[in-house]
Amino acid sequence: MATSEKIQVDSVTGQTTTGHEWDGIRELNTPLPRWWLWTFYATILFSIVYWVVYPAWPGISGFTHGLWGQSSRGDVAADVAAIQAQRAVTEAGLKDATVEQIAADKKLLSLALAHGKAAFGEDCAPCHGSGGQGGKGYRNLTNEDWLWGGKFADILQTVTHGIRDYTDKETRQSAMPAFGAMGILKPEQIQQVVSYIRTLSKLAPEQGVDVAAGKQIFADNCAVCHGDDGKGKREFGSANLTDGFQLYGGDVKDLIQTVTYARNSTMPAWGARLDPVTIKTLAVFVHNLGAGE
């Protein structure tokens, strides 16, 4: 500071000012305590140490990994390993028990449902919906319209070996012929049998269509798998046509398409992809969705 100049001093506090003034109020020059500065330097030092020990700087084809070799991926892997080790202990009971035994033991059941819920969300929800509610072509697991059976053993079998998944020898298999495409039935006959099928579920037949003819066509072509009464047979996984629930829709249009081209959808065999405990918990979880037998 120029020694010849006078220094502005606030008359109340006796402190020097910075010379900044707003509406007559001058800013006092109060130096920050020195330790504040040291704290600032300490943070700089901290960041330098951080750069050295942790991953920090990006490069062209990678980044500096840091001396400690820490990585988020590694942390996750360690966490996953830790949780699996923990699960191995808590889920030891699930390993040896059958699905029925699990369902009978409240503690095991609770454990299995928690495990099954997570696995269902990962592996089943994409087709069957987050709560098993299904969709067109995908079975609604919350109602009683089981095609292959709703007992623990049935569900376990379906989940393990899948449906029409021919990578698995024990997969559930059956095939409905494409009655129209293969030329077994004429379009008019299909129209008639569809109208008859609708009456089984107490739905209105198409106007002006000969339902009696449809009944005969049904007896000749469909009853062998779907039963004389149309209630379906689980050994074939054939649909119950009397309950109003049609996997691919019960409209005339939907049914005509089903009879003409057949559906024969598939479900993967999860036995090859998931561990036995997870499969069991999935069976328990699906059974617990409200319609288990």
Partner: protein, 488 residues
């Protein structure tokens, strides 16, 4: 820069100080003092620290399935225990209530006695006091410490420094050590700590809190109050003209003069102040402020300057309490020749007391009527409903029961609402009367999917009302939740 160089050049040329942006904090050497407020501060310090160290070891019987520690923050099990109170995570509103009470109590104490919290109860004050006591014990009083700091390094100085910092570190890590005892079974953890078997987190926290205690109470001291703590700033907004603050009675003290000068002035019937400008009030101040400049940011209202001034006043045979808990209003009143008035009961303090009473009563009511049974119901949304065979519709509900007893309990779940409704669950047992029975572990919750089936006519797309009631089969205590039953 000395005072002589400072010139008030208001209206003069625009010049400004290009002085340093940073300056070392002037070290404060608080002098030993004795008197009423010092004794009070010691008493509070002993009680506070005593409670802090002893409480984790106090046992409290809660039955066979729960911890026996009077105060325990059980993080792994998400429980907080405080003697007869046990709080679950979802009851965290009790903490909100405690925080509101704490804030209001602080406001009230502030309206009554200014920053009495800062001066007597704040952990920074209590630990700084303790650290100063250690410093005084080893290095002597104010003058000795100033001399020691200025003295060149010698064996004696090194010895004193080692002793002081050693004791400080011992207290600091003891502080951190006591803190972690609130998070685990104290006797077990103490044994683990000394046999190096304690969890890493325990050592880490002892390290962190030990370091902060050592650094903040030993080295930072008043800098914490002046620069780090927000409370002095909030205080400025909360204090008022009637709050009792440590006040230098300017009307009595000024003009300052020596005892002899004052005697002469009084003889000549001229104004004579009681303040002899001995600066004892400044010497004992733990923050290093001059209270005679009036209420200020740095002052923590600890009252030690009152003790120091009283000692001097007693020596020179003048009335004590030249510095006292007083108000600026009273200074003005006395200047006008009126009597001093102390108005601790005024609308503001009454309001605080009333609000504290209301919040406190609410919390007490909630606590005394706290249920030991809990029920929460979440309607399954995917699907909202399922059409079952034979004209029935089924809704799923995720139900969570809570048993807050320290023993296993059996609950029964009943439903009411849709006509002809039945309830089933694979996770519960069916009772003959159609209710569901679940068995809960002590102090635990249980989640179950339950399914309610009713004729389609009993449901509606907008949701027909349904209530679920969980009843404790031991004592009949119940909890009811209302929900909806959906259909096509």
């Amino acid at each position: 820069m000395s005072a002589a160089e400072k010139i008030d050049n208001a209206g003069g040329p625009e010049v400004y100080d290009e002085g340093p942006l940073y300056a070392s904090a002037a070290k404060v050497y608080p002098q030993k003092v004795s008197g009423t407020y010092r004794r009070l501060k010691w008493a509070i310090l002993i009680v506070c620290l005593g409670l802090y160290y002893i409480l984790p070891f106090v046992r409290w019987d809660r039955g066979p399935n729960e911890p026996h520690q009077s105060i325990l923050i059980d993080l792994p099990h998400s429980r907080f225990y405080w003697f007869f109170i046990e709080i679950w995570p979802q009851e965290v509103y009790y903490f909100t209530g405690i925080l509101i009470l704490a804030a209001l109590s602080l406001f009230l104490s502030n309206a009554l006695f200014g920053r009495v919290w800062c001066g007597y109860f704040c952990i920074q004050t209590v630990w700084t006091d303790l650290f100063l006591w250690v410093e005084r014990l080893i290095e002597g009083d104010r003058r000795d410490r100033i001399k020691l700091d200025a003295a060149p390094w010698s064996a004696a100085k090194v010895g004193k420094r080692i002793a002081k910092h050693g004791l400080w570190l011992l207290i600091a890590f003891g502080t951190g050590g006591a803190f972690v005892l609130y998070f685990a079974d104290a006797p077990t953890l103490v044994a683990q700590l000394f046999t190096l078997k304690a969890p890493l987190a325990a050592y880490a926290w002892i390290g962190i809190l030990g370091f902060t205690t050592y650094y903040l109470a030993g080295h930072m001291r008043e800098q914490v109050c002046v620069y780090m703590c927000p409370w002095p700033r909030i205080q400025a907004a909360l204090t008022d003209a009637e709050a009792l603050n440590v006040t230098y009675r300017r009307d009595r003290g000024e003009p300052r003069m020596s005892v002899k000068e004052a005697a002469r002035a009084r003889a000549a019937d001229k104004p004579a102040g009681d303040c002899v400008d001995c600066a004892q009030c400044v010497a004992v101040c733990p923050v290093g402020v001059d209270i005679r400049k009036g209420s200020q940011l740095g002052c923590i209202q600890c009252g030690l300057c009152i003790d120091a001034c009283d000692t001097v006043m007693a020596k020179i045979h003048r009335p004590t309490r030249l510095i006292a808990y007083d108000t600026d209003e009273n200074l003005k009143r006395r200047a006008r020749g009126e009597k001093a008035v102390y108005r601790l009961v005024r609308p503001r303090t009454i309001l605080y007391v009333v609000v504290i009473g209301v919040v406190g009563s609410l919390m007490l009511y909630k606590l005394s009527t706290r249920q030991h049974i809990g029920l929460s119901v979440l309607h399954v949304r995917a699907p909202m409903y399922t059409l079952a065979h034979d004209g029935m519709v089924r809704n799923g509900y995720t139900v969570r029961f809570a048993n807050k007893w320290s023993e296993p309990r059996e609950f029964a779940l009943s439903i009411a609402g849709p006509a002809g409704a039945t309830v089933k669950s694979e996770e519960a047992d069916a009772l003959p009367d159609g209710r569901l029975k679940v068995r809960l572990d002590p102090d635990a919750t249980l989640e179950a999917e339950i399914y309610v089936t009713a004729p389609v006519a009993a449901a509606s797309a907008g949701g027909a009302p349904i209530t679920m009631t969980a009843t404790d089969l031991t004592n009949g205590e119940s909890a009811t939740v209302a929900d909806h039953f959906f259909g096509p």
